[in-house]
Symmetry: C2
Subunit: 387 residues, 2 copies
């Protein structure tokens, strides 16, 4: 029988549980970023990041949170007064739209109901009215709703316009297949504390060739996030600003782990965790919140009699299981559980058992016939059948 209690189980959609080898790398003595030892690490991580982004373009490393990476894509490409189409499926879509507005864009939005993805038809309709739109901003996975947008279809549409397709892949890149070049993504951002299994503090960005022309000609003022500076420094094997030695050294560990395993095998592992979670959430009679669920994070809708904020707190206090509740309009209604990071099968099972027990602490009649033991056996069986 899986133990309900453990030291600590972090199943948030970022930051995620760290791999033991990453923790070791973080504890290494500091080295300087202008040393031959670090030069090698810097070069190899920049090169391997391209494999995760699935791009021929260069990938750049920035010291900032994911939102800083979103700002980097935006301010290198946005010219004031540009028409910008923002897909909004939740909190982070809203954030990117606010950012574009702050920097002087003429913002148009496609706002879906929370839990729903956008469609390429909506985007096509916008372009029929505004063919001079310059940027399309979209979340790969909207972290606040666990919705995955149809990037491939959107990319195929936008490539035939003059617009650039910018994707916030923070809760997606490295967790599932987002081939930047093949899907005609013009700007892609990833975050260290998500599928890269590192502490928060770095964002990774890449620009298509179509985007680079805009970068070079864009006179929008920028300094810290001016990607031209970083490009020039990287060509000399250096970072423009002081490099984040600790995280980059740990990134090398992660990239080696992923690439040795094979990128598609790595995605398959995360997909299995997502499938397991979706299966047993529904086994508990609960619904998935997202209509097109992402493999990186699952959101489940709670029964109306259960307050999600209280349940989340209960899981934290009673079982030391950290998952996230809902934000803004989903507050109290959903629980979000992440599938990225160092997660073992026992963590997957423990979450489902704790979820059941947690709901029962608010509604003692919930699924009365189901014992923890039999549920544990069902889960064990599923895991064996899906190795």
């Amino acid at each position: 029988m899986t133990s309900l209690k453990d030291d600590y189980t972090l199943l948030a959609p970022g930051p995620v549980n760290l791999h033991p080898e990453v923790r070791k790398a973080l504890a290494l003595p500091m080295i300087h970023h202008r040393t031959p030892e670090f030069d090698k690490i810097f070069k190899s991580t920049l090169n391997d990041l391209k494999k995760i982004f699935q791009t021929e373009q260069d990938v750049y490393m920035l010291s900032c949170s994911g939102s800083g990476g979103m700002e980097c894509l935006l301010i290198n490409l946005l010219r004031p007064q540009d028409k910008v189409l923002c897909i909004i499926n939740g909190k982070f879509g809203e954030r990117w739209a606010q950012m574009a507005e702050t920097y002087g864009a003429q913002v148009f939005t496609i706002t879906t109901a929370w839990g729903e993805a956008c469609t390429v038809e909506q985007i096509s309709e916008h372009f029929s009215q505004h063919p001079d739109t310059q940027l399309v901003l979209c979340q790969a996975c909207e972290t606040s709703t666990a919705v995955a947008n149809p990037l491939q279809e959107i990319g195929a549409f936008v490539k035939n316009t003059q617009a650039l397709f910018l994707v916030d892949g923070i809760t997606a890149v490295g967790a599932y297949d987002i081939p930047m070049d093949a899907w005609f993504i013009d700007g892609l951002v990833a975050g260290s504390q998500k599928a890269f299994m590192l502490p928060t503090g770095m964002a990774f960005v890449s620009f298509s060739q179509k985007a680079w022309e805009r970068v070079e000609n864009n006179r929008n003022p920028r300094f810290y996030f001016d990607i031209r500076k970083e490009k020039e420094a990287n060509q000399k094997g250096e970072s423009f600003f002081s490099a984040n030695v600790s995280i980059i050294r740990a990134l090398q560990v992660v990239l080696n782990l992923i690439l040795q395993k094979g990128l598609q095998n790595h995605f398959a592992e995360i997909h299995r965790r997502a499938e397991f979670t979706r299966t047993f959430i529904q086994r508990l009679g609960l619904k998935l919140y997202a209509q097109s669920p992402s493999d990186s994070v699952t959101a489940l809708t709670l029964p109306p009699q259960v307050d999600g904020q209280k349940l989340r707190q209960h899981l934290e206090d009673t079982y030391r299981v950290t998952v996230m509740g809902g934000q803004d309009q989903a507050r109290g209604k959903i629980i979000r559980v992440g599938h990225m990071g160092y997660i073992e099968d026992r963590d997957l099972k423990r979450f489902i058992l704790c979820l059941l027990e947690g709901i029962r602490s608010f509604d003692s009649a919930f699924l009365k016939g189901l014992t923890l033991e039999s549920l544990d056996q069902e889960m064990e069986k599923w895991l064996k059948e899906h190795p």
Copy 2:
């Protein structure tokens, strides 16, 4: 006799050698930034940072390198077309001036010779011609030359003008006494990888009340570095963007170490390292590059027959001692050695011995009569007399 060889000795002016307790903290399992456990750490570090900044104002934590912190001070306070006076003593002064120019300032400069500090008379003269200057930008310590500027005098002057006095304290705050409030500093930035003995990746900033009025009324577009967002979130006990859990948790360790020891005692330890280094550099007949040397970093001028770039490389390759060479116009002429971070007496001695041996590998006749053993004894004596 002090061993010339060791695992690795990092004596750069940042990043610096990590305290063993910091390394342990960095290796801890990840926790989420929205948990009661992290809430406590966040609150206590924000509070303790005020003691290091010596201010009644709030201090804010940003995920970025030091330059990001410089940008944060600037863009929250600068209005396009503002007259900005930039003190330039070296590379980082040049960077801040470029940043101000990028964001539309009307930039005026006081450029000293490298190795020299500015004087308050120079600033006063500027204001007599441009009393409508809005910002004065100055490095506390210019890392590229190891020069310390007379902050107290400048602050006393600027407070009687309408201008704001912004100080880049990246290679200074936490290393020596810079009481923000007492010296009328309106904006101060510090960096994690310097006197805070942490990995690169965070900057800490604070604004005076005089500065806050400007922040609130400033319509300059900004998002990632918009300090109003962070202020509002901090008042709710949160960070606006995902918090850098690893570094903040390690910051708590460092702040506890420093504050338990006492801030002035901590400064005295760093001062002792600087004094030791200055004493024995001169004992080797070498000159200090900076006319008003900082306690955080020492720059020494090499004899003309020794190429600083080659010597720096030699120290790295032969002794695994990392120090920095000169940048730009000081390239090849100087060596810069840092005094911040986890440094033991044996590291101080090892650097001087390796420096002597290193110079001799380029000039075998250098200080021929001096043996390593006698120099080691002299240093031992000095250290005992200066406990």
